[in-house]
């Protein structure tokens, strides 16, 4: 069982998709329930991963599976090679965890073509999980491209007024980047073959060992970096994001924000940086500068938005800038913080999009000026909104604080000290735009008569928000549960990138440091 756990988890949703396709198309409730059950089972399948202590002690790949997939004569092998480490662990868990929540959120929001929607959601889950666990570049690319198809249709069919523009823009932006990456992938393959290395397929473990000419690395790195930068998105290739996020249906926005943007950051951590360490050194300051510009720019633009959903979308640009900064710090604190912040952003921003969705379902508008004084009318809603807002700002005690603090600390300790100093202003602006928005929507007088009959959260909506709230505080108060499994993998990644043995922890979290000093071989899996 456990040796095929990852495959089972990845392909179970697609099995569910086929079953959903066979169900009658008029029975929306049945379709939604069935999809919910499939995503919950997927979560249950993935759950043992989260409990496995092996990630605390070893940063390598676990649960690996390998099978020959395509072999063409002597010159081409692609393998089905998957595995998971502390970095992908939490992204996988985030995916399987957020999927049932998004399905629940569609209960009233999606009424047309329910069958298609549910089938696409399940296809999307398989594609996302597959991309996170791929250890073969070719396999990764397949899943990476496959992800586009369901999201394209979700935005285009169930989206808002400008959905067609947003969907096509989303598709073309992402595909252009990834096509260049495809050429780079082919190039690495032949570089490896020509170097006389005994490689098995497009295995990244083999490609890590390759020492490419730095002049060449530059180009390959740029191809990868561009592709992932579009997905993250980094300034200045972020322009698809506000459109896509704003036009997508709630569940689509949640998945985009919570999981799909992480593909980009994850791509840097897993592929772009460890594969081309020399080129990374060359481009690091520029990329960090772009990250910082993204932080400030995203925050400033978010401040000026009239539409709540757009505001949340731009805040993503800013938050993802922090994640990138943490990754570029290249020390354990920074990168671990960034990985944690990926999860945090998934939870907080996912929750914000859900909240915007709740409001929109009630009022069919998202303009800040249409609201005001809602707090008295819908207190439970307001409370939860407040908590999520604070977590997005990064107030101590919530998840956002831990992540951003570690990122800034890591960046400050690295060569990027001044970048860190500048980006702190992003945190302040975040407080401004989030709280200002909250104030205009929730406080003041309830003047608009249309708002006077708003209903508070239903039981279903509470069920959606509560699990997210649990993690807001869990990560905020006790981040070690997560960090202790992230750190070993991050150390390994940094070692790969910098070529140096792991530095001794200058850890914010002493518990992790102590555990790390314990003998490594005690808990061999």
């Amino acid at each position: 069982m456990s040796e095929h756990l990852l495959s089972l988890m990845t392909f179970f949703p697609i099995l569910g998709m086929f079953i959903v396709l066979l169900l009658p198309k008029d029975n929306g409730g049945l379709l939604k329930s069935a999809t919910l059950v499939f995503t919950l089972i997927t979560f249950a399948i993935s759950f043992p991963l989260a409990l496995d202590p092996v990630f605390k002690t070893s940063g390598g790949m676990h649960y690996t599976e390998f099978a020959e997939w395509i072999s063409v004569g002597s010159y081409f092998h692609m393998n089905y090679s998957v595995g998971i480490d502390g970095i992908s662990l939490w992204l996988v868990m985030l995916t399987t965890f957020i999927m049932p929540i998004t399905i629940l959120s569609t209960w009233q929001a999606v009424t047309k073509n329910v069958k298609g929607y549910m089938a696409l959601m399940l296809l999307l889950e398989t594609a996302m999980l597959g991309a996170f666990i791929s250890l073969d570049l070719f396999l990764f690319y397949i899943f990476w491209e496959l992800m586009l198809i369901p999201m394209y249709f979700m935005i285009g069919i169930w989206g808002g007024v400008n959905r067609i523009y947003a969907a096509v823009k989303f598709f073309i932006y992402t595909a252009v980047g990834s096509l260049l990456m495809l050429v780079a992938i082919m190039y690495i393959y032949y570089a490896a073959v020509n170097s006389g290395m005994n490689i098995s397929g497009f295995s990244i473990a083999d490609f890590y060992k390759l020492s490419l000419d730095p002049a060449l690395q530059k180009w390959l790195f740029l191809a990868f970096a561009l592709s992932f930068a579009i997905k993250v998105p980094m300034f200045p290739v972020h322009t698809w994001l506000p459109d896509a996020h704003t036009e997508a249906p709630t569940a689509g926005s949640v998945i985009l924000a919570a999981v799909m943007l992480k593909m980009g950051t994850y791509g840097y951590v897993r592929f772009a940086m460890p594969l081309f360490p020399d080129a990374l050194k060359q481009f690091l300051p520029y990329l960090a500068a772009l990250a910082v510009i993204g932080i400030i720019y995203g925050a400033l633009v978010a401040m000026m938005q009239k539409d709540v959903k757009k505001l949340v979308a731009y805040s993503s640009v800013s938050h993802l800038g922090f994640v990138m900064l943490g990754i570029f710090a290249l020390n354990t604190v920074g990168v671990s913080g960034a990985v944690l912040q990926m999860v945090n952003h998934g939870i907080s921003t996912g929750a914000l999009f859900l909240i915007v969705g709740f409001i929109y379902e009630r009022r069919h508008t998202r303009l800040i000026s249409d609201f005001g004084g809602l707090a008295k009318q819908i207190p439970v809603f307001a409370t939860i909104f407040m908590i999520i807002t604070l977590s997005s700002i990064g107030v101590p005690g919530t998840n956002g604080f831990v992540g951003e603090f570690m990122i800034l600390l890591g960046a400050f300790q690295s060569e990027l000290r001044w970048f860190a100093v500048v980006s702190t202003s992003g945190v302040i602006i975040a407080a401004v735009y989030m709280l200002w928005m909250f104030q205009r929507v929730m406080f003041g007088k309830l003047e608009n008569p249309k708002n006077q009959n708003l209903k508070d959260l239903s039981v279903r909506e509470m069920c959606i928000m509560l699990p997210l709230l649990v993690f807001v505080f869990w990560i905020g108060v006790c981040p070690n549960t997560f960090l202790e499994k992230i750190n070993p993998a991050v150390d390994q990644m940094i070692q790969q990138v910098t070529g140096e043995a792991t530095p001794v922890y200058t850890s914010v979290i002493p518990a992790v440091a102590q555990e790390e000093q314990a003998p490594m071989h005690e808990q061999q899996h």
Binding site: I70, G73, L146, R163, I164, A167, V183
Partner: protein
């Protein structure tokens, strides 16, 4: 005397042309059957055509790995020919499947359609097995003449007449170039046999750089590139594709193209191998030009048949990239891509056949509004074909492009690969636009005239299954393509 006959018979070796003979006999029999059939009854002709194709396929496939040479080295039935024969037969079979109901709807239930289609296939097969310039030319003519008639098959329709006439005039012109080129090569080498030409150039390397040889090669290339519709010899394509009956367009975009590729590859790789520096640099430019031309003009098309015509120009450009690479993977990928393209493109045309009204005025983007909701199955099948044409995994189009560009990268043509993928990024836009109309816009019509025609449905379903199979497990077909060459 007896001895002489015996040697001659041995030299002939009918096994080498068996598939063509079988198919030609069937075609002629079909012509006779037509003559004695009731007017307007074509279903039985279609069935017999499928039988003919199946029989030919069996006789072709049995020749796999047991090459036969015949007619004193004028024809050969090697793995290369077998692979291409299969591509032609697949294309012909799929076309036959979609044709019957279509011909009735358009008011031309004429049985001669099928024998003509089969004669085209015979011509294509001769081209693929020809190892002599004359044989190749013979095959090309059999193919072309039947195809001219097919393009103008709807004799009462102006567009179809225009297509037939245009194709004929320009085709005849390009054949002139081809023959002139062949004559020049003969003038230099004194032979029309491909292997002998190669031997001559190997013996006298300085001859291969001479003006006459190079001019001959370029003129000959012009003839083939015209048939493949490589820019700047592509001008005929959009009008002919748009005006021809849809099944003919489907066939034309797959089989004759593949046949011209087969002959071109054999000539270039076998005879002109020593001149590859010259032709590679020419083809490099033409490949880029073709991809750019095809994709950028396709952006602006609102008629789907015309759009697919331009996209087929672009796809020929991708395939040419594999030939420019001229290495093991690149060339095998060309073979693979021909088969993949036959499936994905004919599949798409099969759906057009079902959606078109009589006269096909409605095959514009607007005519596809809301198809996804009114006819979900057809829309999904078309979507899969379009994703494959785009080159999105997991589809045959993706794996084909992957191997082609991988070949280019391996051969060091990085820029060609980059330009290729950027071009396929451009193509995303116009393929996506079809989906925009099918899914993102509300239906204005009920599509009540659209019926799941059994033949066309079978054609599309087979194509889609093949597209997905070649996308998910491309290894086996790619291995066959490789064995066809090496």
């Amino acid at each position: 005397m007896e001895n002489l006959v015996q040697t001659a018979m041995q030299n002939i070796n009918f096994a080498a042309i068996m598939p063509s003979v079988i198919l030609a006999c069937f075609s002629m029999a079909l012509l006779l059957i037509n003559a004695f059939s009731r007017r307007g009854a074509t279903a039985h002709v279609a069935w017999i055509s499928l039988l003919a194709i199946a029989t030919t396929a069996i006789s072709t496939i049995t020749a796999w790995n047991s090459p036969e040479t015949g007619f004193a080295g004028h024809v050969v039935l090697d793995n290369f020919a077998v692979f291409f024969n299969c591509v032609f037969l697949v294309a012909a079979a799929l076309t036959v499947l979609m044709s019957d109901a279509y011909l009735k709807r358009e008011g031309y239930p004429v049985g001669e359609f099928y024998p003509l289609l089969l004669f085209c296939t015979v011509g294509a097969m001769i081209m693929a097995s020809g190892t002599d310039l004359m044989t190749i030319f013979l095959g090309l003519e059999v193919l072309s003449v039947s195809l001219y008639i097919l393009a103008g098959f709807f004799r009462g329709q102006k567009r179809s007449n225009e297509a037939g006439l245009k194709y004929f005039l320009l085709g005849a012109f390009s054949t002139g170039f081809l023959l002139y080129g062949m004559a020049l090569i003969y003038g230099v080498t004194g032979t029309t046999n491909l292997v002998d030409i190669a031997r001559f150039f190997a013996q006298f390397p300085e001859a291969s750089t001479g003006v006459v040889a190079v001019a001959g090669m370029l003129l000959m290339s012009t003839g083939f590139l015209f048939k493949i519709a490589i820019a700047p010899f592509h001008m005929w394509t959009p009008d002919v594709y748009e005006g021809s009956p849809t099944p003919v367009t489907a066939f034309m975009s797959a089989a004759p193209k593949a046949a011209a590729f087969a002959a071109f590859m054999r000539i270039m790789l076998v005879s002109m191998g020593s001149m590859h520096g010259t032709w590679q640099s020419v083809l490099w430019v033409l490949a880029v030009l073709t991809m750019v031309m095809g994709n950028f003009v396709a952006l602006n098309q609102s008629n789907l048949k015309r759009m697919l015509a331009y996209s087929s120009i672009a796809h020929a450009g991708y395939a040419l990239v594999g030939l420019v690479a001229a290495n093991e993977i690149g060339v095998s990928a060309v073979l693979y891509y021909m088969l993949a393209y036959a499936f994905m493109n004919i599949g798409a045309f099969g759906i057009l056949v079902m959606i078109g009204k009589k006269g096909e005025e409605n095959l514009t983007l607007d005519g596809f509004r809301g198809l996804g909701y009114k006819r979900p199955l057809l829309a999904v099948l078309l979507t899969i074909c379009l994703f494959s044409l785009m080159g999105i995994p997991p589809s045959a189009g993706f794996s084909g492009k992957f191997y082609i560009f991988a070949g280019a990268v391996e051969a060091g043509y990085i820029w060609l690969a980059v330009l290729g993928v950027l071009n396929s990024a451009v193509s995303l836009y116009y393929y996506l636009r079809v989906m925009v109309y099918m899914y993102f816009r509300d239906a204005e019509e009920e599509f009540e005239w659209v019926k799941l025609l059994p033949g066309a449905t079978a054609c599309v379903v087979i194509s889609v299954i093949a597209v997905l199979y070649m996308g998910i497990l491309p290894g086996s077909i790619m291995a066959l393509a490789r064995q066809a060459l090496f």
